[in-house]
Symmetry: C2
Subunit: 179 residues, 2 copies
């Protein structure tokens, strides 16, 4: 494999929000040229497929303002500073759905938009769930939906579920089960 | 389905780069509260699985500065203003790989990070390819890799390919072929 690495010459924060930090970096390319890179820094996130029984999972429906659409997604959330992906998965699942997972299984990780964002999402499936109480962020209005797993997979294949992490998670899980 | 829509009260551009525009909006939630939303505006993009023959596809390897890693991905690129997704797919495929597609087939669309970005990627697979000449953007250093399709699918399942659009595209394609 050749080395295509780009080296940072200069880095400037051009926006610091509550959620996003945007950097404008100058980089040196392998061909000697310099170029600029606009980067959205992201702390990383997790997504979880919660199986309430062998056949059914819990998804969340929420309005996603950036795309102006209500989407059906697996429960997910951002890592707190210093938090492990597994702890975050258990915390976010309980906050969003009220289910506390006894067992987590790793399915893989994805970069959602590696051209402009550092976001990585670690994907798990969870089993042995105990219902406690949902406690969503007050700025996040969610509805939980219990749905047949096979039906949700079909919705991914039919382009009715369009959130990337959810499509990856459900289709990988489906293939994993069938292997 | 309930109505979870959020209404924009105020919108401000907080960063305008060459690639990204970042907005800070104030929104009214369904519960009456107001909240802020940090949004990366994106023009939309396409990704293409180019089949050079029945068994092999072309992927591109490039250094993705935001995640500081070389990734193997399907050819992809952003829509120009007013450009249709199909025209963009044909143009980007030829620019990045040198292959001109005679036939495009739609596989579906994904939102890559709907929590903070408006990016949507329309995914196609292409066949009947004629090699002309690659003409990549001078700021984008790419290597093309011709690879067995089944091997690339296995790399997705084994978490060796981690770019979200590529995982969705290859696994959906694989299931589509098998259906």
């Amino acid at each position: 494999m050749s080395e295509l690495k780009e080296f940072c010459l200069k880095s400037e924060t051009v926006f610091q929000g509550k959620i996003l930090e945007v950097k404008l970096d100058q980089v040196k390319l392998k061909n000697g040229r310099t170029s600029s890179r606009e980067v959205v820094l992201h702390p990383g996130a997790v997504g979880i497929i919660p199986f309430v029984n062998e056949a059914e999972i819990v998804l969340v429906r929420q309005y996603r303002y950036p795309v102006r659409e209500e989407l059906l997604e697996i429960p997910a959330g951002k890592l707190d500073p210093g938090e492990s992906a597994e702890s975050c998965a258990i915390r976010e699942l309980e906050e969003e759905t009220g289910y506390k997972a006894e067992k987590l299984n790793y399915l893989g990780s994805i970069y959602t938009s590696p051209g402009f964002s550092s976001e990585v999402i670690h994907i798990y499936w969870a089993e042995q769930l105990d219902f406690t109480r949902a406690n969503p962020d007050p700025d996040e209005i969610l509805e939980t939906v219990t749905i047949d797993f096979e039906k949700a997979v079909k919705m991914c294949l039919d382009n009715k579920i369009k959130d990337a992490k959810t499509v990856v998670a459900l289709i990988k899980m489906w293939l994993e089960r069938g292997r």
